[in-house]
């Protein structure tokens, strides 16, 4: 693996150096000539637009992809990892955007997979496993939140992410890369993670941190590297670049006001939700008007996603009713809600939103069978036109509409989910974490799009853990805690502190 000539580590060599990395997928040149250095005890923020090549670079680092050109040097020695397990053995870990867990194994087993110790020769030593799991959970102050024996599949997106991070932590890493680790974490959980990152930096771990959120980059990074279209356009100490400069380097043009567009007076009541109850919800009531953006704020686990699912007919109700434009809905399944003019873009795009094996086109036209067929027979041209229209409108970066959706970058996958609903044009659209993993430029586009949609009379319900997004986007914000709506704030009276206070107040 390593070249004999390089065996003696040159003094002062950086912990990690990537030299001239290039990678091509078919017609897509994902990376070209990328050169990057990381020192021990340094946090390097890697930023760039959706599809810029960040995740690809990390996959090359950990040996999941082989570069077409270039080399990876650790302590000045060349390494060519053939697989992630080789990289792990060398102390290199990449934590991915979409964590992979074994849903039926327990949290503890997931955490220590590959390092399960036997008792009495053959049996799993549950006590030892519990002890080690507990110690790790405690480091995150999660020992009362996550049960070690809970099946990992029952965890929400946030806890899965944390599980994945802990999995890497338990096997001493020297180079750790976090690919958008906070995209599904709340502010509080993110802070906990930042503390861990800082602690590891102090212990001399080199960290590559990928994020679309500038304030996180500011909070953590010692230096910033910017990728644009597969080229590294800058690597500089964080102090030398201000936010505007970073954004400009990323997109190659200045970004103006994120939230814009004139507000209009809301129209008739579209969605009228009264007294929803089920195992996770307690007496949830609210209304959503045409031309209105209503936000659902609160902590992860407060029941925001459950509200969305209940209104969409995905979960059973034990009490309560949903009215659409005055008509009471019978919601036996999402199909009923869709027929009534409701759309839902779920937060878990891999598990709930996308057919990963299917093409961009098939994913976009999934909910509009009536538009792409006549008498049940497909009209290929219609499907193609609809898909192309959404790809253009959302600026989805894909070599074509026939591309398999799992090969798109994370942010572009999210846009495909939005495209499905834009094609359907519901009267009420529920967006659960709509900009998760989406870059600033695309975020601005999506905010503008939401503005356009409500201007045309749609009602939009947005669930978001990002405060600036809620505050900037929404006409009203409903704050949830422990399965109820604890406050209904209008634009004027909402602010970050108030929402946080309300969200925490009813927590046990």
């Amino acid at each position: 693996m390593s070249d004999p000539a390089d065996l003696a580590a040159p003094a002062g060599a950086p912990l990690l150096a990537l030299r001239n990395i290039a990678k091509r997928f078919g017609v897509v040149q994902a990376l070209s000539g990328v050169t990057l250095e990381l020192r021990a005890g340094e946090v390097l923020a890697l930023v760039g637009e959706n599809g810029a090549g960040k995740s690809t670079l990390m996959r090359i680092l950990e040996g999941a992809h082989q570069p077409d050109e270039g080399e990876v040097l650790i302590d000045g020695r060349r390494h060519a990892f053939r697989s992630p397990s080789h990289a792990h053995a060398a102390g290199v870990r990449v934590i991915h955007q979409e964590p992979d867990i074994a849903p039926d194994l327990s949290v503890a087993e997931n955490m220590f997979i590959g390092d399960l110790r036997p008792a009495a020769g053959i049996f799993l030593d549950r006590r030892d496993l519990l002890r080690r799991t507990h110690a790790l959970l405690k480091r995150f102050r999660l020992e009362h939140v996550i049960s070690p024996w809970a099946p990992a599949g029952t965890l929400g997106a946030a806890h899965r992410q944390i599980l994945e991070i802990m999995r890497a932590l338990r096997s001493g890493v020297r180079i750790l890369s976090l690919d958008e680790p906070t995209s599904s974490l709340t502010e509080e959980e993110s802070q906990r993670l930042f503390a861990i990152v800082r602690q590891m930096r102090a212990e001399g771990v080199g960290i590559i941190y990928i994020s679309h959120r500038m304030h996180e980059v500011r909070a953590l990074a010692d230096s910033i590297a910017v990728l644009r279209d597969g080229h590294l356009v800058a690597q500089r100490p964080a102090g030398e670049l201000d936010d505007a400069a970073v954004l400009q380097l990323m997109v190659g043009r200045p970004i103006t006001n994120l939230f814009q567009g004139a507000r209009r007076a809301p129209g008739e009541v579209l969605l009228d939700v009264r007294g929803l109850c089920n195992t996770r919800l307690r007496d949830v009531s609210f209304t959503l008007r045409a031309g209105e953006v209503v936000g659902l704020g609160g902590l992860v686990g407060a029941g925001r996603t459950e509200v969305a699912r209940a209104v969409f007919g995905a979960d059973r109700l034990s009490a309560g009713e949903v009215r659409m434009a005055g008509r009471r809905l019978v919601l036996r399944s999402p199909a009923d809600a869709i027929a009534a003019g409701i759309g839902l873009a779920p937060e878990d795009r891999k598990g709930q939103a996308l057919l990963l094996l299917a093409s961009v086109q098939d994913n976009i036209v999934l909910s509009v069978p009536q538009l792409i067929s006549r008498l049940g027979l497909l009209r290929g041209g219609a499907a193609r036109d609809i898909a192309q229209q959404q790809v253009r409108r959302l600026r989805i970066r894909t070599p074509g509409i026939a591309q398999i959706v799992s090969k798109l970058s994370g942010g572009n996958q999210q846009k495909v989910v939005l495209g499905r609903w834009l094609a359907r044009q519901p009267r009420v659209l529920i967006l659960d974490e709509p900009t998760r993993g989406i870059d600033v430029g695309a975020k601005a586009e999506i905010y503008r799009l939401i503005g356009d949609l409500v201007a045309q009379g749609m009602g939009v319900l947005v669930i978001s853990s990002e405060m600036p997004e809620l505050l900037g986007l929404c006409d009203r914000i409903l704050v949830m805690a422990a399965g109820r709506i604890v406050a209904d704030l209008d634009r004027a009276s909402a602010n970050e502190q108030r929402i946080l206070d309300l969200a925490m107040q009813e927590q046990p």
């Binding site: 078919g26 017609v27 969409f312 995905a314 399944s333 999402p334 199909a335 809600a337 869709i338 027929a339 839902l344 779920p346 598990g351 709930q352 939103a353 996308l354 057919l355 990963l356 094996l357 299917a358 093409s359 086109q361 098939d362 999934l366 909910s367 069978p369 792409i372 067929s373 049940g376 027979l377 497909l378 009209r379 290929g380 041209g381 499907a383 193609r384 070599p399 074509g400 026939a402 591309q403 398999i404 090969k407 499905r420």
Partner: protein, 335 residues
């Protein structure tokens, strides 16, 4: 781009480009490698028995031999694409032959008897689907159970006896020709054509791919996942009923034991050979048909070259494992 779509089995929507590239798309890389495998088998057996293998009579024999399996395997392909599995098809074939024989006895109308056999098959499929969707029983276990049950029903209604069919129409179907081609082969071609159109050119077909790809996603996109599952198992049962008709016509009798010689295993093998992933969402009808052809040539060739029966069984089992192994390797590569 388009070849990438084929790689994973979900055919790209039609109407994209010229006829030639559309043909290439229809074939797909997986199907091209199946054609290659088929050519290799033909070369081997043709080389070993050039005197008989290429005779028109033998080629017709192969066609006869795969007609029943072909109907079952292409239906099984649809079941597997939808994310399910139907192990009970062999038993349903046996049940259907018995019901058709009884139907002829009772009504003396071949049409009614055939419709009766297909309806019994569809009812068996409905039973499977309800156990799986409403009962929430795993498809493998559910159809393993009904396989035994359906076989039992076939023995009960026939009193364990073979029932002869004395009717010229069945003799015609079993051995006769229409426009120079054997009727059994024509039935197979019709079924395959119908399934091909269903899976490739209809909304229903696209949605079957979707529910097999990820039922949660499909449900949240507004598809009636259970409805499709029920439909798919009914289709599989009805296809097995039709296959029973072909078998009854060929043997001139209804036998409760018929179809118990590993038909379900061969149907599943052909579907997997054809590129189906057992996790669902992936596969093609053309692939399934090519899988059947490979099995048919293999069966025929082994008989011509006098491979003992027991060794033939080993070879067929090994083929299923090999097909899954290859599929796994590919899945890993294209992850």
């Amino acid at each position: 781009m388009s070849s990438e779509a084929d790689e994973i089995g979900l055919p790209a929507l039609p109407g994209r480009s010229g006829a030639v590239s559309r043909l290439m798309q229809a074939a797909g890389t997986h199907n091209l490698s199946l054609l290659l495998a088929l050519a290799v088998l033909v070369a081997i057996f043709g080389g070993m028995r050039p005197d008989v293998f290429f005779l028109a009579r033998n080629i017709e024999n192969i066609g006869q031999g795969i007609a029943i399996l072909g109907v079952l395997a292409t239906a099984q392909t649809i079941v597997i694409i939808s994310g399910g599995l139907d192990i009970s098809v062999g038993a349903v074939v046996g049940l259907s032959t018995v019901c058709i024989a009884l139907g002829v006895e009772w009504t003396n109308s071949p049409t009614l008897a055939i419709l009766f056999g297909i309806a019994v098959g569809a009812a068996a499929g409905l039973a499977n689907s309800l156990i799986i969707t409403v009962g929430g029983v795993n498809a493998v276990i559910a159809t393993l159970g009904t396989m035994a049950a359906f076989r039992g029903v076939a023995f009960i209604v026939s009193d364990g006896q073979s029932i002869s069919i004395f009717n010229p129409v069945f003799r015609m179907i079993g051995a006769g020709r229409l426009l120079g081609l054997q009727i059994t082969i024509e039935v197979l071609l019709l079924v395959v054509a119908a399934f091909y159109v269903l899976m490739r050119y209809t909304i229903v077909g696209r949605n079957i791919y979707a529910i097999g790809g990820n039922p949660v996603v499909a449900r949240l996109a507004g598809l009636n996942v259970r409805g499709y599952q029920v439909g798919v198992y009914i289709l599989s049962g009805a296809a097995a009923g039709l296959a029973g008709m072909l078998l009854a016509a060929r043997t001139g009798s209804g036998q409760p034991i018929s179809g118990s010689d590993g038909l379900e295993l061969q149907a599943i093998t052909a579907a997997v050979l054809g590129g189906c992933a057992l996790t669902g969402g992936k596969g093609t009808i053309v692939g399934g048909l090519l899988g059947v052809l490979i099995l048919g040539v293999l069966n025929n060739g082994m008989i011509l070259t006098s491979v003992p029966t027991f060794y033939q069984m080993v070879a067929r089992g090994a083929l299923l494992i090999a097909a899954v192994l290859v599929a796994e390797q590919q899945a890993r590569r294209y992850g």
